[in-house]
């Protein structure tokens, strides 16, 4: 477990990572007093109660996030009108835009107007391009998920497999090679990994597609070939974290008595790891996987820029630079929702994997 404490340096900067990383022990359902209907419900189906509780908490968190994003963008110097016009801002033009967008109203009014729209599922129109935010986000989110999905599809089985291998051959050559390689990959900044891949596979060998621009009407195989390099970069970046967590968690379990029993029974090493140790090591691994999944969706701005990939991160950065509030808000909410959802899923899976957590003492 000690090895995991260092955490993935790339993850530490993520929005919202603070409160949700180490799933805080939610207020115990039993606190409510044993005679309330809630108490009865939570005793009969503790899992459902926990999920409901988490959902309610998520909604509250989303509100807090939207408020923080709004406050943050408000606090930046310059508003949309001045930033959008940049050096070419005349007082008249600025005034026109402000009036047009209702920026002359106080911030609280604007926030509640936006909130009212968002609650009805209307994220409004982008201030800069005057297009529907939902429509634009739909495309970008699809692209981001597409990339994240394939990166996860490769990296998760690979990480777990390598982790088990490392345990099997612990402190021997294979373990050391895996460790050194994955540590090296995680130590290099992701843009540098990206540039190296571009240099070798696109510029010198000319076998990979670059730039990774995807667009409407592109065939599925074309898309796959376009995302090959960014996927490879992401896999290299997230692999080490998950692999090392798997290794540490399994090693932790390996020292317990029942593993010794299994060994004494004469079971093979890999079988012990896969059938006996791994299921009990699954909770911390799931947590790390969830974090990395969230990172794959939310934190890949740099990779998107390097590979010219039109995902959500790039979209949000564009919007922040011109203070395009509706877009920033919508992106922020979606990111936060993803983060919360993945963490919740991780918690629930951990509870399912470990029945002891379901019955708090």
């Amino acid at each position: 477990m000690t090895e995991a404490a260092g955490g993935n340096p790339q993850l530490s900067g993520l929005a919202g990572s603070g409160p949700t990383t180490q799933s805080p022990p939610a207020a115990s359902p039993n606190d409510q007093g044993s005679f309330s209907p809630w108490g009865g419900f939570s005793r009969r189906s503790p899992l459902a109660a926990l999920i409901l509780q988490r959902l309610a908490l998520s909604v509250a968190l989303l509100f807090a996030v939207s408020l923080m994003i709004f406050g943050g963008v408000e606090a930046l110097p310059g508003d949309f009108a001045t930033t959008y016009l940049g050096q070419s801002a005349t007082p008249q033009a600025v005034e026109n835009i402000r009036k047009d967008l209702g920026l002359d109203q106080p911030a609280t009014t604007r926030y509640f107007q936006w909130l009212g729209g968002a609650l009805q599922g209307d994220f409004g129109t982008s201030w800069a391009s005057r297009n529907s935010v939902s429509e634009q986000i739909g495309k970008r989110l699809g692209n981001s998920l597409f990339l994240a999905f394939f990166a996860a599809l490769i990296s998760i089985p690979l990480a777990i497999g390598l982790g088990m291998l490392a345990v099997q051959f612990r402190d021997r050559l294979a373990d050391k090679v895996i460790n050194v390689f994955s540590l090296a990959a995680i130590s290099l900044p992701e843009f540098f990994v990206g540039y190296l891949l571009i240099l070798f596979f696109a510029v010198q060998m000319g076998i990979a597609t670059f730039p990774a621009t995807v667009y409407d009407g592109m065939g599925f195989t074309q898309r796959l070939s376009a995302i090959a390099l960014p996927t490879a970069t992401l896999v290299l970046v997230v692999l080490a974290h998950m692999m090392r967590m798997t290794r540490a968690a399994i090693l932790n379990v390996m020292s317990s008595a029942y593993v010794e029993t299994a060994e004494l029974k004469g079971l093979s090493g890999l079988r012990i790891i896969a059938r006996h140790a791994a299921p009990n090591a699954v909770a911390p691994v799931i947590n790390v996987i969830a974090l990395n999944l969230a990172y794959l969706v939310v934190g890949v701005v740099v990779v998107e820029v390097v590979f010219v990939y039109p995902g959500m991160g790039q979209y949000m950065v564009d919007a922040v630079t011109v203070r395009d509030m509706p877009v920033v808000q919508a992106c922020g909410l979606i990111f936060a929702a993803f983060y919360i959802f993945l963490n919740m899923t991780a918690d629930i899976l951990a509870i399912i994997a470990n029945p002891r957590l379901r019955h708090p003492r």
């Binding site: 930046l76 110097p77 310059g78 001045t82 930033t83 959008y84 940049g86 050096q87 070419s88 801002a89 005349t90 007082p91 008249q92 033009a93 026109n96 835009i97 047009d100 982008s126 800069a128 391009s129 005057r130 297009n131 634009q136 495309k139 970008r140 540039y195 571009i198 240099l199 696109a202 510029v203 000319g206 597609t209 670059f210 730039p211 621009t213 667009y215 409407d216 009407g217 820029v305 390097v306 590979f307 010219v308 039109p310 790039q314 979209y315 564009d318 919007a319 630079t321 011109v322 395009d324 877009v327």
Partner: protein, 529 residues
């Protein structure tokens, strides 16, 4: 002489000499710059354009917030896109900057240059099959005059009082005479749209050489050849693809791996590395854009002309061009005009780095203590480095410059045009009159040097309506001298536009009007297989 220039022209034809070399050698042989330019062009154009192919451009400057409406075009990406699908009334000649006909066939000013009559070209079809009418032209210009359109050309259009038709001719009545009006209509926002774009400003339907096939803001745009194009001397490729590439390294990788044919904004710091690639050609064009250090003439301590002169003499221009622009630029002379403008006033002595003179004026000014210079990375590429270089060169003259680095966010609203001494940049303007009216007229919003001189304003207004070119040139000479010697502008350098293309790309026209062949790159080049 003719033998030698013929030889040079042959070298050009063989692709052995670029424009810069040709101009340099021809000039050394006593050929005037303008004549050399024309000769180079003739030689370069002697190559027969090849039609067909798919042209891919990797462009910096696109954002998800880009608008399809030409009135709101702000980025380099929409600039090139607009030139692909649309036409203005007037274009500018790439080498001389003179106005040449586009959708307007010809024009005639009144004697006071306050009323202009344009003949609109006939038989031109929009992409949707409708024929261009005088009504479309009038509606377009009216839309850009409307404050609500948020048009980037609003400043240009302000001087037009009335837009009307006289039969099938367009008549523009100005608030005051302006000899440069045709050049103002070359503004890239003023794309003529069916019904002026009032029905749908985002339709991207125009009269240009390419029709829009797809446009995804901040990602990609594709165009197909317009078979009904009214001009045969442009639009040589079958299809064009613009790809948004905001990362400088990504652009260079894409070009050197052959994935795109052309990229813009090559970083001067890496241009020498890119030059080594055998398939790549660097395209640098002198431009009107300039990087500036600006002082407010009405704010202490900069209200003292001796201090201003001291700070001007303390600028080491040659070093700036070498270090900040990597040699891809020309030194400036503290007035915002260079020889790419029509009616450039020759014979103004070049100001050089002179610590002794700087020290002399500094002492005379009686200023004591440091001079605070504010800068930021967004002011221009390398602005912070330039400020530190300046600090060094000023120190040799005994002037203590304190450099304060400001955050990029809000620099344009909180520092530039607000604080008395800061760094900034200016893009070029189509005419000298425009440049001076935008930033040196007493009443201008962007008078960022607080140059408040009624005598200057008077000459500026007189020159505007003067149709006699010799007289105008004389006036521009006087104005240039006033800004140079009494203004608040320190202009160390004019930056070249540095782009790069694969050697497959032929027919690239170096246009002094603006970056990327004045935005016309996709319509002017062809692909050699």
């Amino acid at each position: 002489m003719t033998d030698y220039t013929d030889y040079l022209a042959r070298q050009v034809l063989l692709g052995k000499m670029n424009r810069r070399e040709f101009m340099g050698r021809a000039a050394a042989f006593g050929v005037t710059l303008a004549a050399a330019g024309t000769m180079f062009d003739t030689a370069a154009r002697a190559q027969e354009p090849k039609r067909g192919g798919h042209l891919k451009l990797g462009l910096e400057g696109a954002a998800a917030t880009d608008s399809k409406d030409p009135a709101k075009s702000l980025s380099q990406f929409t600039f090139v896109a607009g030139r692909c699908w649309g036409d203005m009334l007037v274009e500018s000649e790439p080498l001389t900057g003179a106005p040449v006909p586009a959708l307007a066939e010809s024009w005639e000013p009144s004697a006071d240059a306050a009323t202009w009559t344009f003949n609109i070209r006939k038989g031109v079809k929009f992409h949707d099959g409708k024929e261009l009418t005088i009504d479309d032209v009038i509606k377009t210009l009216q839309r850009h005059t409307d404050e609500k359109s948020e048009s980037g050309a609003l400043g240009v259009m302000k001087s037009i009082k009335e837009i009307k038709a006289d039969g099938d001719k367009l008549v523009l009545v100005l608030t005051e005479g302006n000899a440069d009006l045709p050049l103002l209509l070359t503004d890239y926002h003023l794309v003529i749209q069916p019904n002026g774009g009032l029905d749908d400003p985002n339709a991207m339907i125009g009269t240009g050489p390419y029709k829009v096939a797809s446009f995804e803001p901040g990602v990609r745009a594709t165009f197909e050849k317009n078979a009904d194009d009214w001009r045969s001397d442009r639009g040589f490729v079958d299809s064009v693809e613009l790809i948004a590439m905001n990362d400088a390294t990504a652009r260079i990788a894409a070009l050197s791996s052959g994935q795109v044919h052309y990229i813009n904004r090559v970083d001067p710091k890496t241009v020498d590395l890119l030059k080594r690639a055998p398939t790549v050609e660097i395209l640098n064009t002198s431009g009107r854009g300039h990087y500036v250090f600006i002082m407010h003439c009405n704010t202490a301590p900069f209200d003292n002309n001796d201090l201003r002169l001291a700070l001007k003499y303390a600028m080491d221009r040659e070093t700036m061009v070498q270090k900040i622009l990597g040699g891809y630029g020309k030194i400036g002379n503290d007035f915002p005009i260079n020889e790419t403008y029509a009616l450039f006033p020759e014979g103004i002595e070049q100001r050089a780095y002179d610590p002794d003179k700087a020290a002399f004026h500094y002492k005379k000014s009686g200023h004591d203590g440091t001079v605070l210079l504010r800068t930021s990375d967004v002011a221009f590429p390398g602005a912070v480095d330039a400020a530190v270089l300046y600090q060094e060169s000023a120190k040799k003259a005994g002037i203590n410059v304190e450099v304060k680095r400001e955050p990029g966010d809000g620099y344009w609203s909180n520092v530039w045009n607000v604080q008395p001494f800061s760094t900034s940049y200016w893009g070029g303007r189509p005419t000298q009159d425009q440049m001076y009216s935008t930033a040196y007229l007493s009443t201008a919003d962007w008078n960022d040097t607080r140059f408040l001189r009624p005598d200057f304003d008077k000459i500026l207004l007189e020159a505007r309506s003067e149709l006699d070119e010799a007289k105008r040139k004389e006036m521009y000479h006087t104005m240039g001298m006033m800004v140079r010697d009494e203004g608040g502008l320190i202009l160390p350098m004019f930056n070249d536009f540095v782009n790069a293309a694969s050697k497959q790309v032929k027919g690239y026209v170096h246009d002094i009007g603006n970056d990327m062949s004045n935005g016309y790159v996709a319509t002017r080049v062809w692909l050699e297989s």
